[in-house]
């Protein structure tokens, strides 16, 4: 097949078929990259907290995926789940190499709140969101992984189970424990913030 014709044809091909072709055709991997780079970047961004590291880790994720695509087998594991697993490992390596968690203060996360006419309301909403992100960063690694997949990537429990290599029931249980811990962390954060508010 001619390369020019290939690209338009490949755009309609599903992930699994493309991943199999990517074992021998670099262009097929390029199509997969174009298709999934926004989601992987978003996932990584919420795990590391800044655009520079997110770009670096996203690039490393795809480089590692390309290097190991010959090992990818379509045995019930969607290509996206395989990619998220790689991204999760690269993020974990990043945190380990930086030997602190998180490597970048959460204050540096850029907030993308909706535009509001009421400036005070927006500041309150941003502070609320900042507190939430800070609490999420204090969760153990796998719980952060779960929260980002569920609320940033909007994945279903079954998909999260595939990515995290756990049953749907185990994900539900982990989710419940995560919410419980998150509520405690938020309660602590609010308790610490209250004395500062007093005049």
């Amino acid at each position: 097949m001619e390369p020019a014709a290939d690209l338009s044809v490949m755009a309609a091909v599903d992930d699994q078929a493309l991943a199999l072709r990517a074992k021998t055709e670099r262009e097929a991997f390029g199509v997969l990259y174009q298709r999934h780079v926004p989601a992987i970047y978003r996932y990584v961004y919420y795990r590391v907290g800044n655009a520079e590291d997110a770009e670096d880790i996203t690039a490393k994720t795809f480089a590692r995926a390309l290097k190991h695509v010959h090992n990818y087998n379509d045995r019930g594991l969607p290509f996206t789940a395989w990619l998220y697993r790689i991204a999760h490992n690269v993020v974990a390596n990043f945190h380990r190499d930086n030997s602190r968690h998180p490597s970048v203060p959460i204050e540096e996360i850029e907030l993308h709140g909706g535009h509001s006419d009421d400036a005070d309301h927006k500041i309150d909403a941003d502070q609320d969101r900042m507190r939430l992100l800070r609490a999420i960063r204090k969760l153990p690694d796998e719980r952060q992984h779960l929260v980002v997949l569920k609320f940033v990537e909007q994945k279903q429990n079954s998909e999260i189970g595939q990515i995290m290599n756990r049953s749907e029931g185990a994900i539900k249980s982990l989710y419940h424990r995560t919410l419980l811990q998150l509520r405690e962390l938020l309660d602590q954060a609010e308790a610490q913030a209250l004395p500062q508010r007093k005049p």
């Binding site: 390029g30 780079v37 978003r42 655009a51 996203t58 993308h112 969101r129 609320f151 940033v152 419940h176």
Partner: protein
């Protein structure tokens, strides 16, 4: 550890749903990283690895068998 009520869950999930606001990579990054990927040299999968593994397992088994045999002879 205290329990999580249905109200707690709704409150937390409402707050967490604010995380779904879009974050996108820069277009320059997307194209630069794609170019780098397309030029990345990837070594072909090493088929030798499985044969090396078989060799190691075989050698280890032979070694263990030899040791067992020696121990048996010594005890006999």
């Amino acid at each position: 550890m205290s329990k999580l009520t249905a109200d707690d869950m709704t409150w937390l999930e409402d707050r967490l749903s604010t995380l779904s606001e879009p974050v996108s990579p820069r277009p320059e990054f997307i194209s630069r990283a794609r170019d780098e990927l397309m030029q990345l040299s990837v070594a072909p999968p090493r088929r030798i690895r499985s044969s090396v593994l078989v060799g190691v397992i075989f050698s280890a088994t032979a070694l263990i068998a030899a040791i067992l045999l020696l121990v048996r002879k010594r005890n006999a």
